[in-house]
Symmetry: C2
């Protein structure tokens, strides 16, 4: 071990490696204030350094845990004691913005917000957006296939990536940094690294696809009285707004009350008393005519009796006010201790699913809290549960995850598996699927040094069909 | 061999297997009228039969070539003499259309056009569209990641597939038939089978994502005098039409002359004499206001001097007339014998690329023909070359493919590799990339029975960097 550390220090230099107390000064990221217990944190500056460092660790059979902005919610970037962490924090350069091909070439350690900002300055949109934008890095977004607020229009991170450079466990540099949209020349290898949480390779550089910057923004919040009407509203706005619908976010009333009442900053733009509050957003190309269309589509929905009360944002400030209600997830902590879940399932199955878990929670604990919101247009719900004590997590997890198996849902819509959801992978994946995941892992990382124990665990197949 | 055929006959029944002269009555698909030389054509009716058949072939180490509608252009579905073909033609059922989740569940052998039609009847759009729509099957579309006319708006087949069921070489059934849009529960295994041309598994069933049916259609053809103006026009219509731009097809003048002159059916809607003719299409949600917007965006481009002459379709019939000019690729045969290429490259590199190959062809042959058209919005060009004899193919291929290496282009934008482009894979992929492709192939098909020799050949790395 000390021999390996010696070689890595020689390779990366003093700035390129943290040891001892310097490691312990770091925590394990959001929600994990405990000190990092890695034996070292590597901070390579180039792909070549990542390659050489992985080669050394692979020869020594020593585990390596890749790290981005440490904002993940499932523990995928937390090293076990003695493992070596590899942070991309010094690979934080935007290498090129190519306006002709509408691409941006970046190193993995660039924060998402810096990419959004740079795209904006050049007249483009990089559509990925999530609450952690200021801290998360694009490498982490790619490794976890991050989703966020605009998936209904622009897809997930996977859909915004044209090229990837990744380093395999043995140090092989796999550079697929293409700028072309269409490339059927052999297997699409970048897919291996997108969403596999650093277990198949370490992403070092990325070619991102940029979009035209929208020239119009429209948003409204609508109070809806039944789930059926919520789904009808989705159909109407999706059809009526054509390709412009960019968000369809639903807040169940409990959530809406939390984020519009003291000590939250926001006040309710619509009266309480409705079971659902929907935030609809459209991005288009002409403010005047798009606003007309937006209001006319909402008017059509109102005429059909889908809602009685709505507020349409008339300015950027008013739009931001509506989004703040959706984004103020800190208010959820008022029910602490809480457990936060990220599931997806077919929209028609949602009412029964939620009623079932509400009943199960109520049957087991006195007055549990259950707050629901999500990217409904994508079939993605966030369910936040409080039962009064933090030690009940496994019991609550079982209640949340088990019913997803029957309806073909996912235990991880956008947050990934990491270590936290590992025991439940079999509820969303068959034994055959998990077997093929193991085959891929063995083929690409035969010594098992890359983020070992993440995504897959010894008994992942246990609950699979 | 006869033992294997005996077992397969017992498994699949008389209807499930073609032998001897029944095999020889079939050809090898589009452009390949020669009789099929497979030792048998299997016609399984279920995933279970595919699984059992592959298990038998794998045990015997016998090659199996999956077949869809036989409309591919690179030879990926043509069996070598003695290989066993496996056609999905009897798995042709649309199993379910689920309007609530906006998905369609289909067997691999359903023709694309049947899927488009069924979606349309239910008020949805399945946006994949290509000339072979009547004959090609969705399984083949998935296996080749087909592109087509609307990639700029809706992406390629990969972007329209939510779930896949595939059978591995050893008969393992890998069923990932999810209907949810977001699923980060472990590796996204379906990506392995999309675009890998049947070398990693045989796709048997698919869950397709449907879109809202558009309520407005607008199209125009524009004559443009410089390539710079073509790219400026793309920027203007993409920005101005917001999410509604669905096609940006460019015809170089040679192509336009071919498809608008005798014996072609179409007549030129715009005068000859311009180097580029662009077909612009938008799909939206309201005919009246979308038409206004469409004409105003084109007006803006005209004011900027990007073109002097345009024709805007005022009816469905007029739209169809414009598309017929783009789609009448049979006219290309007037220069027969011809070689057809499908490449992608960064748009700014196109003029130099085309000038370079034109010069190289002219330096080698007397008055060669070179006709160019393509999905320019996607960076995808089709280049059709005639040099007077059919035996010069390898020399022409070298001229077309080699320059793509320097500009990061792809030798196969949408048609795939098959056997035809195998020797040139190294121009678009590095030795490391091809090495990982081999690793995947060995891991998933250790006996090498699935479509052997397709995509990868013994010397694929030869020309790679």
């Amino acid at each position: 071990m000390s021999e390996l550390i010696g070689k890595l220090t020689k390779l990366l230099g003093d700035k390129g490696i943290l040891l001892g107390s310097d490691v312990r000064l770091r925590d394990n990221g959001w929600g994990h204030p405990e000190p990092c217990e890695a034996s070292a944190i590597l901070r390579p500056k180039t792909t070549e350094e990542v390659s050489a460092a992985l080669g050394l660790c692979n020869d020594a059979g020593h585990p390596v845990v890749p790290q981005g902005g440490m904002t993940g919610l499932v523990g995928a970037a937390i090293p076990a004691p003695g493992e070596i962490a590899l942070s991309l924090e010094r690979m934080s350069e935007i290498e090129e913005i190519d306006t002709a091909t509408r691409t941006m070439t970046v190193q993995a350690g660039v924060p998402l917000q810096a990419i959004q900002q740079r795209a904006y300055e050049e007249g483009f949109l990089f559509p990925l957006d999530l609450g952690a934008r200021g801290s998360c890095t694009i490498g982490g977004n790619v490794a976890t296939n991050a989703g966020g607020n605009r998936v209904i229009r622009y897809g997930m991170t996977r859909d915004m990536v044209l090229g990837v450079e990744a380093v395999l466990a043995d140090g092989t540099v796999l550079s697929s940094m293409t700028k072309v949209l269409k490339n059927n020349a052999g297997y699409d290898l970048k897919q291996l690294f997108i969403g596999s949480e650093g277990t198949l390779g370490i992403v070092t550089r990325i070619v991102l696809r940029l979009r035209q910057s929208p020239r119009s923004h429209n948003a409204a919040m609508v109070a809806v009285d039944s789930f059926d009407d919520v789904t009808r509203l989705l159909t109407i706005v999706d059809g009526g707004l054509g390709g412009n619908l960019s968000a369809f976010e639903v807040m169940w009333e409990d959530f809406y009350r939390l984020t519009t009442s003291e000590p939250a900053k926001s006040r309710p733009p619509l009266e309480y008393g409705h079971p659902f509050y929907v935030l609809v957003e459209a991005l288009g190309s002409d403010q005047e005519s798009d606003s007309e269309r937006f209001e006319s589509v909402l008017g059509e929905a109102m005429e059909q009796g889908l809602f009685e009360d709505a507020v349409v944002a008339k300015s950027r400030a008013e739009r931001d006010t509506l989004w703040e209600i959706r984004d103020d997830i800190e208010q959820l902590d008022r029910n602490a201790p809480i457990f936060t879940f990220d599931v997806s399932l077919p929209i028609p199955d949602m009412p029964d699913y939620l009623a079932g878990i509400r009943q199960a929670l109520g049957g087991r604990w006195d007055s549990p809290s259950m707050v629901v919101f999500g990217h409904l247009g994508d079939g993605n719900l966030h369910v936040v549960v409080g039962v009064g004590d933090a030690s009940s997590r496994p019991d609550v997890e079982e209640i949340i995850y088990r019913p997803l198996q029957a309806c073909g849902g996912s235990i991880a819509a956008e947050h990934g598996i990491g270590t936290e959801k590992r025991p439940y992978l079999g509820y969303s994946r068959s034994a055959a699927e998990i077997g093929v995941m193991r085959t891929l892992k063995s083929a690409l990382d035969p010594n098992g040094i890359l983020n070992p124990g993440k995504v897959l665990s010894a008994d992942s197949e246990a609950m699979a069909h």
